[in-house]
Symmetry: C2
């Protein structure tokens, strides 16, 4: 229902290492809850396959909100833990949404 | 290794319906192969979890390449099949990459 035009998408692509699933899962939940409380937060979408490759997109009202989230001290601490333990590699792309559209079965498209 | 700054990201978020996995899998493979042959193609990343929610990001050299891909007749035909059979809902966001960075274990970051 949300038109995301004008929002900033932070696309996080990551390859998980095997193991430490409980700690990782707890951190992932904590990160999403933390993000949701930040100014300018507009949602998060996440998927990870059985091969351990995952994509998370967090949506922000503007560039300033995305930058503030990057600099959040708890986010930074969890990023350090990710580098130390959880990820084999990751990539981040920060992108301004030029247009968006959606479709849903039953006609909830816009 | 690739800096994606200046590229256009087409972020496709979708909820699969149960069933028809063989046809869907074949179409997904065909779509990736087709995309890879288009002018301005710069890669694709995809993840789908056990709950059927998936995110695919295709990367394009510029806006014109992303728009051409949207209008490709085979892409359009597969999109119709997706609406008819495979998806419960989906969302697309087209976004221009302002900056990107990456990290890899062992120091392949840039």
């Amino acid at each position: 229902m949300t038109d995301r035009t004008g929002q900033v998408a932070v696309v996080f692509l990551s390859q998980r290492r095997a193991g430490d699933d409980d700690a990782y899962g707890a951190a992932a939940v904590a990160m999403e809850a933390l993000a949701a409380g930040q100014p300018g937060y507009r949602g998060v979408d996440s998927a990870r396959g059985a091969d351990g490759f995952g994509i998370t997109v967090s949506w922000w009202a503007d560039e300033a909100a995305a930058v503030a989230w990057r600099g959040h001290p708890v986010h930074a601490a969890i990023r350090d833990a990710g580098r130390a333990d959880w990820y084999e590699r990751y990539e981040v792309a920060v992108a301004g949404v030029d247009r968006s559209y959606r479709w849903a079965r039953g006609g909830l498209s816009e």
